[in-house]
Point group: C2
Chain length 218, copies 2
DNA sequence: CTCAAGTGTAAGTATCCACTTACGTCTTGC
DNA sequence: GCAAGACGTAAGTGGATACTTACACTTGAG
């Protein structure tokens, strides 16, 4: 992506191989906590060798952000495929599973690290872009799933939709807010996982005006 | 609060006088960024003198958290007073103003700093308590405002309330989530202030089942 | 006055951490 | 076989930073 036809050198392969480990380390330790010594130890290398692959710790962090973005995007794209067939089901699945996934990847810790160390404009920009793209995607899914039959629920300023829900634009931000805060909550032990899931499923469902799961109607 | 009748020494007065400045510094610079040198400069003192008042930088940070908690509590308590007379109005006011306030105090930056440095159990605990008390308060206000006439809207598992809204418990967490994420969004320039306010007012209002503002019905 | 405790100023110290240099040993193309 | 570069290991270096020590000046009670 840099020069004409990235050559995919051995170094590139090496980087690709190591990035998941870096991501884990940044997630576990935070940005400041992940000292270059710690990063090297995690990779089972010497600091030196890391610096032969990336020019700086910041570069390692940005590579990690890129990697995570790729991972997330891949996962979401799969959901999108499902969404083509049954948008509402896909949206519900996202609501149900999102909390769990974030916890696994440790993405949120990396994001907090980035926010804190975000005096740096590069880091800031990378993170903002990440959020923006997520929002775009989620809003897209919501738009499809909120209009099962009709053509346009959100008619310009259609704030007060039929019976509930907000515009997909706003709803998507709300869902992202829930997902993000859930991770803070987990970090601080604010509430149990059940509450977290209810936040996504109930509150999220209400906002996005999805039909409730309705399984085997008691 | 420590020994029988805290003596309120000159040192105590001094601390109380300086804490707001510390808070500002932590908010502006983050925890790591607020070096002891920077803190001293902000207070127009030498590092030394700070260390005669607090035993460590961490103690300064915890004092800051305490102070902010006090400040927030005072503000919220005022709203509570209003809530006694017109709960719905108070709730709406909170929804409308919360985003702005957080931005002013810089509380969120301190919280991010704390989250990041939150390997420390003391910091973690202080922050968790802060959130828990906010939640308790907000849920209380919501409970009062959501039941203008009837006695019990949330009947145990009353998840799907009349026409919309979730339990006050969940709704309060949702509002806190919005407020928190709004600050992240501001930090990263994710969306304009108008969106932030709509998130609180529309999405929050929908979740908490508040009657929309309805002013001078166009 | 005087002694002790507080206050202001300045110079350290010890530690940590991102990043570097030096150097020996493999691999590899020719 | 051999030069050149990649790889592995170890030891720095410079700078930042939390925290300390030293010391002179004020103040106020006895």
């Amino acid at each position: 992506m840099s020069d004409t036809r990235t050559p995919a050198t051995a170094a590139d392969a090496r980087r690709a191989e190591l990035v998941p480990t870096l991501a884990r380390a940044f997630a576990d330790l935070g940005y400041a906590g992940a000292t270059t010594a710690a990063l090297a130890r995690a990779c089972k290398l010497r600091e030196n060798q890391l610096y032969r692959l990336w020019p700086s710790k910041k570069a390692m962090f940005l590579a990690t952000l890129d990697y995570l973005y790729e991972m997330e995007t891949r996962w979401w794209r799969d959901r999108l495929a499902e969404a083509e067939h049954d948008p509402a089901a896909a949206a519900r699945a996202i609501l149900d599973e999102e909390g769990r996934r974030r916890g696994e990847t440790g993405l949120h810790r990396i994001i907090f690290a980035g926010l804190h160390e975000a005096d740096d404009p590069d880091v800031r920009h990378a993170m903002a872009q990440m959020y923006q793209r997520f929002h775009k995607f989620i809003a897209h899914v919501l738009r499809r799933s909120q209009t099962p039959g009709s053509t346009a629920t959100a008619s310009g300023h259609g704030v007060e939709n039929s019976g509930g829900g907000v515009t997909p634009h706003l709803g998507a931000w709300a869902l992202i807010a829930f997902a993000t805060f859930s991770n803070i909550a987990r970090e601080l032990d604010l509430f149990p996982v059940s509450t977290q899931r209810r936040l996504m499923a109930e509150a999220g469902g209400l906002l996005t005006n999805l039909p409730p799961k309705n399984k085997t109607k008691k």
